[in-house]
């Protein structure tokens, strides 16, 4: 069940640098410490209103030291809109309209939730988490 990720960073000669910038890297997503493909995914699309911090992804003990690859994209078209991403109460970054990120999320413990807060206006995001080790919540939790 190969999931292939490719990142390209590109700028023409005379633009960011005097020479061309071209960085291309590719990786099949594997379970931690193995060459076994990841085979589980959660994904979604959400509208994030301003004023409240939301849990985008809950860290669980099952995810500790496992592979958790997270993609988040801010679909807002207004470049002044942004979402703030926080892990375990530490701000990781901001995604302005049109920005995206891809991180190997570290779940040290169950407090390492990924939280999102929208600013300026309601932001729409798309996200995916390719992972291992998850079981569904027991009924009634």
């Amino acid at each position: 069940m190969a999931i292939t990720t490719t990142l390209t960073l590109k700028s023409d000669a005379g633009d960011l640098l005097t020479d061309e910038l071209s960085v291309v890297t590719s990786k099949d997503l594997h379970k931690a410490g193995t060459t076994t493909d990841l085979n589980q995914v959660r994904m979604g699309r959400n509208e994030i209103p301003t004023g409240t911090s939301f849990d985008l992804l809950d860290a669980t003990t099952l995810a500790i030291n496992k592979a958790n690859k997270v993609y988040v994209s801010n679909l807002s078209t207004d470049e002044t809109y942004y979402i703030t991403l926080v892990i375990d109460a530490k701000t990781i970054g901001r995604l302005y309209g049109g920005d995206w990120m891809f991180i190997p999320w570290n779940c040290d413990d169950a407090t390492h939730d990924i939280e999102v807060t929208a600013s300026t206006g309601t932001n729409t995001i798309e996200w995916a988490c390719f992972h291992e080790g998850e079981t569904l919540p027991t009924q009634g939790d």
């Binding site: 069940m1 190969a2 999931i3 292939t4 990720t5 490719t6 990142l7 390209t8 960073l9 590109k10 700028s11 023409d12 633009d15 960011l16 640098l17 910038l21 960085v23 890297t25 990786k27 594997h30 931690a32 410490g33 193995t34 060459t35 085979n39 995914v41 030291n65 592979a67 690859k69 993609y71 994209s73 470049e79 002044t80 703030t84 892990i87 375990d88 530490k90 701000t91 990781i92 970054g93 901001r94 995604l95 302005y96 049109g98 920005d99 995206w100 990120m101 891809f102 991180i103 190997p104 999320w105 570290n106 040290d108 995916a128």
Partner: protein
Amino acid sequence: MATTIAQLTLTSTDLLSDSLSLSAVSTLTKVGTSTGIEHTTGLARAKVTSTAKGTTSGQVTLYTADDYAAIAYLYVKNVATTAGHKIFIYDDTTSGDPIQFQLDANDFAFIPMHGDKTYMAYSPGGNDPLIEWMVLGQDQ
């Protein structure tokens, strides 16, 4: 205006019952504007020989807090090819030096950083993996 493009593709033909094909393209700009970023550290490569956070040598500083104006984009890749040869990236600014990212062999990340935290790397397994990284944004 400098134009710098960051693109991510995620594809799979067998994870789901239908094909997964996702592409995200972003033109890297100064905060809240459509003006392109103008600075970069350039691509760097180093060996990570430290096996614990907080040790005095062998760690690699990927980014120093407030070196760039927010938002600074960090590209980082673990160049190791053997599964399990991990690199941990931790926040050296916050008390307790929390680990924020784990890069297994050949893993990469692209992070629009808040920019106010120093990020450092070490390798707990003592495998001395190579790391590549680059910061893009606005130097200050």
